[in-house]
């Protein structure tokens, strides 16, 4: 308090008391630094922990990015690699979370398929459209029903959505040319 008011310990006449006050002040300053660090760690932890709070998975990615930014700013680029690894693991979790989210809307998607959707820029809406309007083919080799929309993309490429014959779960999604194979049974 005295320090905050700009009053120095040199005004204390008693040597022993001044020494004790200075020592106490040192401890206080050290504690302040520790508290500041804990607060920053807490913020970072809070950002990361919010990942597990029920909310849309896109929001979760945003929170995870913020946590990494804080982490990077505080600990420097050397630790960034660890943070990036955490983010990658988080992304994996996002894929899983995303899968759950899709399940909630009635569309069951495997992690493998969710990953392909993310990589290939295929949205849930596109998958739903393919399932509703695509031509269905049986792939006897892989045991899937494939729903194909020929020239479904502006680029002229086809969209193929593979599903499990029994469960209807989406097992893969493809975007490419000539996706209907000779062995497919309409």
């Amino acid at each position: 308090m005295l320090r905050d008011k700009g009053i120095g310990f040199d005004r204390v006449g008693n040597d022993r008391l001044r020494e004790r006050l200075e020592r106490w002040d040192g401890i206080q300053r050290y504690m302040e630094v520790v508290h500041k660090g804990v607060k920053e760690d807490g913020l970072m932890l809070l950002e990361a922990a919010s990942f597990f709070v029920p909310m849309s998975w896109l929001t979760k990615v945003k929170y995870l990015k913020n946590a990494i930014t804080l982490f990077k700013a505080k600990r420097g680029a050397a630790v960034e690699k660890v943070a990036t690894k955490l983010a990658e693991d988080g992304a994996e979790q996002v894929v899983k979370e995303g899968t759950t989210a899709l399940v909630k809307t009635g569309l069951e998607v495997s992690v493998h398929a969710a990953q392909r959707m993310a990589e290939r820029g295929i949205t849930q809406k596109m998958v739903e459209t393919a399932l509703a309007k695509g031509t269905r083919y049986l792939d006897p080799k892989n045991g899937t029903f494939n729903y194909v929309i020929k020239n479904g993309f502006a680029s002229g490429k086809d969209l193929l959505v593979g599903t499990n014959i029994l469960t209807g779960k989406v097992t893969t999604v493809l975007r490419g040319s000539n996706l209907v194979k000779g062995r497919f049974i309409p």
Binding site: S110, V111, H112, R116, E119, K141, N142, G143, T144, K157, L160, G162, N164, K169, T171, T172, L174, R175, G176, S177, N178, L179, K181, G182, R183
Partner: protein
């Protein structure tokens, strides 16, 4: 063919190489049918054992290698057949009795 051999032997970069191969095929407007089927079939390869359990259509390294080896064999066979046909066509005499061109 080279990229297929790389997928076989460079096990650490398998997934990346598969993606490269698929991109090559799916961006080609007139791909070889055998390679096109392989690109599609490779989409069911899942290296993660846990994720692989989610559907019966997924497979691991063992089947991946079988699929690729089988395709390499088919492509070689196809090339040999094409070369044989070409040779025969070239050596078939035309009406004047001269060998075809």
């Amino acid at each position: 063919m080279k990229i297929l051999e790389e997928i076989l032997y460079d096990k650490q970069n398998r997934s990346v190489l598969i993606k490269e191969f698929q991109e090559l095929i799916w961006n080609d407007n007139n791909p070889n049918e055998i390679l096109s089927e392989l690109a599609y079939d490779l989409d069911f390869y899942e290296p993660n054992e846990e994720w692989r359990k989610q559907d019966i259509s997924y497979y691991g390294d063992e089947r991946l290698e079988e699929e690729i080896k089988s395709v390499i064999k088919k492509i070689k066979q196809q090339n040999e057949e094409n070369a044989y046909e070409k040779d025969n066509l070239d050596s078939t005499p035309d009406r004047s009795g001269k060998p075809g061109t």
